[in-house]
Each structure stands twice: as structure tokens, then as C-alpha cells.
């Protein structure tokens, strides 16, 4: 319902000309007023009048619908209550009072549900004899446009600020857009590229790719993470990863392509450097293994000569060289034999290192234990060692290696015995995804400060006169276990025996 302005009826609102234009369809004045009032009330555009002090005098249904208020919640209130930005409405009113006409003035209005609508306001003041009667305000909802502009601007900002080069081209390969990333990577400004053919970026040996890519795009295909070379403005060749996708217009027709190019030069160089370093490491490792293996073989031959010929000297000339001569020959023979033992262990160590993993079959640990004990039969009988064991599992390991483990650990337990005959217990306990084996003895034990050192190559805690040995046994054990992905350690106290543990993955 229209308020009754002091100016009188609405019928007087149109000027003479418009009155003339609409005149033919109209009946009585009263009828005209009714129809106009209905027309304005039901117009699909939000309309209102505001008084000089900002009080809302009248608003049509479209405005109520737009903001969600009932007439009682809106009409009679001050328009400033519905503006989000106080400064904006102040400015609007101020301008209207000074007789300015507002066109497309943007503002934000708060709806009843708390949401905010962006509007564009056109307004002027209806005056009578210079007196401010009310505004003539038309409010257009531009929220959707505003949102799409925001989305567009955000996307544009993302494209613009991307580290990657993002550009578009048409199906002929002509560059249509060029972001800052593209400028940073390739060195060209948009002015230097937009309108030119994309082949300006391809080094000659990669020029063939361009028509291929365009053909694929025209077929609607994508090019994903294609690694290739491109040339910068100053001629530097970059390794880039390209993703090219078709751009379609509203009808779905492919009109061009968007292209995202990432400079992966550094990554590729790092990968190459890493690969080279890795290959060098593998070569060095294999050289070292080869060296250890052949050294231990090749050293053995001259050593055998020393050993056998010093024995032959002893046999032929023993007693003729005097006691000292015999003693010296004895040193030579023992030295050669000890070195032979060292080389044999070094060979085993190198052999373990060179063995390919994985073992293919499970084997019965108890069978291997029996074998190891048979190898140790001499020293077991000699020392009266008693060896007990729990049930042992089936595990995946090379037989030769498990035999080495048992033989070295039990051999040590016998060798480093205390005053009483060795009592040795072998056990295996399953813990999560591994078997924990243990070899426990009642021997002389190990000072805990050496419990890491004993696993080192040629590391010994005693002279070979006191306890014979090469210092390789535990190093071999550790190497075997490391290659299997298990762990090996010792728990011990001096004089209280030792327990060696090793784990084998299930």
C-alpha cells in the first residue's frame, strides 16, 4: 500500500508526457491510481522512499522480498539500520540532500536472516518547492554478479600469483594469456608473448611436440605432467613438466588450451645427482666387496707357501738350526696359520655381504643348530660343554648363515668359558613380527662398556694367546643379521655370563 505523500496521489507522479503515453489504456483517474499503485507494488525491482532524516516512508514488495522484512519491521525505521557500512549511507543521504543524483551507487544491506546483499542504488530526491519530500530509490540486487566477480578475481589472483607458468593458447597455438609465473620462468613479458605462436618457447629439437600437443588438445585429450625442455628468453634450456588441457566455450566446443608449466630443472638435476651418487656408492660398495673377497683369496696363496714351506723347513732341517731356530720356525708356522684363519673369516664376511637377498625357503632352525653343534663337536667334548635348547622355529634365512650364527655364538660361549664347564642355552621367543633368538652362557662375561665394540671387524678383548680367535666371528654375525633386517646385541656382566640376542623377521 502506498503511503499518502503530502504531494497527493500517485496519479500526479508521472509527468505530462508519460501520462500522455499511458493515457489510451486508462479509465478513470481513480482507476489509473489503483493500477499504477498495483504496478509499482508488484514491480520486480525494489523501490522505496526515504525521508530527509533517513526514515523509510514506503517500500514495495520486491524490496521486502529482497531483504526478508515485514513492512512493520522495515517501514518507519531508519534506512541506516539496514546498511552494513554506516559511512556509505551517510554519504548517500548527504549527496541526496545536496541534490545530487545517485547512479549505480554500491552498498551492502543486511537481510533479516543476517545475510548480506550487495546492491546498486539509483536515487534522487522528490522535492516540492525545493523542499525534500522523499527519495526515489531503486535498489538492484547485484550480489550474484559481485560473487562471480569475486570468484573471478580470486581465480585471476591465483593464476597471477602462481609459481607455475599458466598460459592459454588457441587451437592454432597462438598465446592468449600469460601470467606472472610464465614471465618469471620464461623471462618474457605478456606483451612479448600474447599474440605470438607457442613454438617460440620450444627449443628446435622439441619443436615437433607442439603440433602433436595441439592435435591432442583438439581431440579433447589432456597432456599430463609431460616432462620436456623449453627455452627461456635468454636462451637457457629448462626441464619443465607440462600439463595442457582443452578449454571449451559455453557450447562445449574446444576453443583452445590452458597450459601449466612447472620448472623442474632443479628437481631433475637433483634427481640425477642423487642417482649418480647412488650408483657411485653401489659401485664403491661392490668394488669393496669384490676387493675383500679377492684380497682374501689372493693373499691366501702366498700365505700357504709360507705355512707349508716353513713346516717343510722344520721337517728337513729341524734340530739342525738349534733350539732358537726351531722356535723361530714355530712362530712362522703359527703366524701363517693364524693369518689363514683371519683370511678365511674375512672371506666369510665378504661372502655374507655379497649374498643376494631374499632367501627363498624357510628352514628348521633346530636342524641347523644340530649341524653347528656337530662342527663344534671337538671343543664340546674337550670342555664338557652342555648345550640345551627350547623348541626352535622355522625361519627364512640361508642355512650357511644361520649355521655361522649358531657356530660363532656357541663357539664363543665355549671359548670364553669360566672355571666350570660351559652351560649354554639356546632359545627363541616370538615377539610381534620377529623371532628373538638368544644364546646364554655361564662364561667370563663381557664388561658392558665393550658390548658394542665386540661386534667390530677384528675387534678382540683378549690376546690370542689367552683366548684364540680372529675377532671376526661377531662381525660376521652382525653382518648376517643386518642383511636380514634384524638386530643383534649382548647383555652381560663381567663374571656372570653373557646372553647374545639376535632377531630374525617373521
Amino acid at each position: 500500500m502506498l503511503p499518502h505523500a503530502k504531494s497527493g496521489s500517485l496519479a500526479s507522479l508521472p509527468d505530462d508526457e508519460s501520462a500522455h503515453n499511458v493515457a489510451p489504456a486508462l479509465g478513470t483517474l481513480e482507476q489509473r491510481e489503483k493500477e499504477l499503485a498495483d504496478f509499482i507494488e508488484n514491480a520486480a525491482v525494489a523501490l522505496h522512499w526515504v525521508g530527509e532524516d533517513g526514515t523509510i516512508l514506503w517500500a514495495n514488495r520486491a524490496e521486502m522480498t529482497l531483504l526478508g522484512y515485514t513492512p512493520a519491521e522495515y517501514i518507519g525505521h531508519n534506512i541506516a539500520e539496514y546498511h552494513v557500512d554506516a559511512a556509505v549511507i551517510e554519504d548517500i543521504l548527504c549527496r541526496l540532500k545536496t541534490n545530487q543524483k545517485l547512479e549505480g551507487c554500491q552498498a551492502r544491506l543486511r537481510c533479516k536472516d543476517g545475510s548480506i546483499r550487495y546492491v546498486s542504488i539509483n536515487s534522487s530526491v522528490y522535492r516540492e518547492e525545493g523542499r525534500f519530500v522523499h527519495t526515489r530509490c531503486v535498489t538492484l540486487d547485484i550480489t550474484e554478479q559481485k560473487k562471480s566477480i569475486e570468484v573471478f578475481e580470486r581465480l585471476a589472483a591465483i593464476v597471477e600469483s602462481s609459481d607455475d607458468a599458466i598460459l592459454s593458447k588457441d587451437l592454432n597455438g597462438i598465446i592468449r594469456s600469460w601470467n606472472r609465473g610464465a614471465q618469471r620462468i620464461f623471462g618474457y613479458t605478456p606483451q612479448e608473448t600474447v599474440g605470438r605462436h607457442i613454438s617460440m618457447l620450444a627449443p628446435p629439437e622439441h619443436a615437433d611436440e607442439i603440433p602433436d600437443i595441439l592435435t591432442r588438445i583438439a581431440r579433447g585429450e589432456r597432456v599430463d605432467h609431460y616432462e620436456t625442455k623449453r627455452k627461456t628468453k635468454n636462451g637457457k634450456i629448462l626441464t619443465i613438466s607440462l600439463t595442457v588441457s582443452p578449454i571449451r566455450d559455453a557450447t562445449g566446443t574446444i576453443v583452445g588450451a590452458s597450459k601449466v608449466a612447472r620448472d623442474v630443472t632443479q628437481r631433475v638435476q637433483q634427481e640425477q645427482a642423487l642417482q649418480e651418487a647412488n650408483a657411485a656408492l653401489q659401485r664403491a660398495n661392490s668394488d669393496l666387496q669384490h676387493f675383500a673377497y679377492s684380497a682374501s683369496h689372493d693373499l691366501q696363496e702366498p700365505l700357504r707357501m709360507v705355512a707349508v714351506y716353513s713346516e717343510l723347513l722344520q721337517k728337513r732341517f729341524g734340530g739342525k738350526l738349534g733350539e732358537t731356530g726351531d722356535e723361530y720356525i714355530g712362530h712362522t708356522v703359527r703366524g701363517a696359520l693364524r693369518m689363514e684363519a683371519l683370511l678365511a673369516d674375512l672371506r666369510t664376511y665378504a661372502q655374507v655381504s655379497a649374498t643376494e637377498y631374499e632367501p627363498k625357503e624357510d628352514l628348521e632352525a633346530s636342524d641347523v643348530l644340530k649341524k653347528a653343534l656337530a662342527n663344534l663337536e671337538g671343543s664340546i667334548n674337550e670342555t664338557g660343554a652342555q648345550i640345551t635348547s627350547t623348541d626352535l622355529p622355522r625361519i627364512r634365512i640361508y642355512e650357511f648363515q644361520l649355521e655361522q650364527l649358531f657356530q660363532n655364538l656357541i663357539g664363543n660361549a665355549i671359548r670364553y668359558r669360566g672355571g666350570s664347564p660351559p652351560r649354554i642355552h639356546v632359545a627363541a621367543v616370538r615377539q610381534d613380527r620377529e623371532w628373538v633368538f638368544s644364546v646364554q652362557d655361564n662364561g667370563i662375561g663381557i664388561d658392558p662398556q665393550y658390548k658394542e665394540q665386540v661386534f667390530g671387524i677384528f675387534k678382540r678383548l683378549h690376546s690370542s694367546a689367552q683366548y684364540p680367535g680372529t675377532g671376526m666371528g661377531l662381525a660376521i654375525c652382525q653382518r648376517i643379521i643386518e642383511r636380514l633386517g634384524g638386530r643383534i646385541w649382548v647383555e652381560s656382566e663381567l663374571g656372570r655370563g653373557s646372553t647374545f640376542f639376535f632377531t630374525v623377521p617373521c
Partner: protein
């Protein structure tokens, strides 16, 4: 070291009756490049009073020529070939093949005497027709025992001939 060395191993002072085939000295071909091992083989044979003519060849290539030449000449194949695997120029494996191909050497006994304890070397040599594979011992006593072992092989070759 000369390509070929010849040794005459005799246990007794008096000359053996060379006309009696049963008393004829054995012939042994030792193919070995290590002069010290040649010395040890001689020691081992003498230790067991083996009476033999010992021919020593120190490289694989010459050994193959020597074997091949047996065909064209009046020469006879040795009773026993003691062959090292790791030789200059041609490996012992090739020498073994040429021995096995030679018509005159079908009956020759072959013992491999190698420092290798690799199972594949042993299997390969036996497959190619070696009778025995012996790893060069580290202890003198074991090396000297080889003399007895070779003596048995020689005796076996004569028994077969007779």
C-alpha cells in the same frame, strides 16, 4: 721358469729295468705355474717313493700344445696329469677339455690340484672328466699325503692297462 721342466724321480740307486713294462717308471704331467707348488708336489711324490718321469708345464697354452702334439708323434700320454685350474694364458679347464678330446689320453688319470674351494669349480672339473679334485692343502702333512694319493692313482692306471 722354463715352459717345460723334466725331472726323473727315482727312489733306488740302481737303474730300473726299462724294458719290463711293469717296472717302467710312471710318467706324470704336472701343469702348474707356481714353482713352490711344483716343489711340494715333488716332495710329496718323493715322500712316497714314487718312481716317475715328471714333466712340468707352467702355462695353459703350452700345456694344450703339448697335449695336441701327442697325436702326431710317437709320444704317449702320461699316466697321471696333475692340473692346476688357475694358469697363465689358458685356464686349466681348457687344458682338461683338450686332454679329454685327445684320442691318446682317453685313459689318462687326471687330478685337479687347485687353491679354489668353490663348489662350482669342483663340479665343473668332475663333469669335464677329471677323476679327482684336490684343494691345495695348507698343512705340510696333508700336502705330503697327496704323494700317497697320486701313487694310488698311478697304480690304478697301470692295473687298468694290464
Amino acid at each position: 721358469m722354463a715352459a717345460v721342466q723334466r725331472f726323473s724321480l727315482r727312489s733306488r740307486a740302481e737303474k730300473a729295468n726299462e724294458n719290463d713294462p711293469k717296472l717302467k717308471p710312471y710318467s706324470i704331467l704336472l701343469i702348474e705355474d707356481n714353482i713352490a707348488d711344483v716343489g711340494l708336489v715333488r716332495e710329496a711324490l718323493m715322500e712316497h717313493n714314487v718312481e716317475a718321469d715328471l714333466v712340468v708345464i707352467s702355462d695353459g697354452d703350452y700345456a694344450i700344445q703339448f697335449i695336441d702334439n701327442l697325436d702326431g708323434q710317437a709320444g704317449e700320454c702320461p699316466d697321471l696329469v696333475i692340473l692346476d685350474l688357475n694358469l697363465p694364458k689358458r685356464p686349466g679347464r681348457d687344458v682338461l677339455e683338450s686332454i679329454r678330446k685327445n684320442s691318446k689320453c682317453q685313459e689318462a688319470r687326471v687330478a685337479i690340484l687347485s687353491s679354489s674351494d668353490a663348489a662350482e669349480d669342483k663340479a665343473d672339473a668332475l663333469k669335464l672328466g677329471a677323476h679327482h679334485y684336490v684343494r691345495k692343502p695348507l698343512r705340510l702333512a696333508e700336502f705330503l699325503d697327496l704323494g700317497g694319493f697320486f701313487k694310488q692313482m698311478l697304480a690304478a692306471s697301470r692295473t687298468k692297462d694290464a
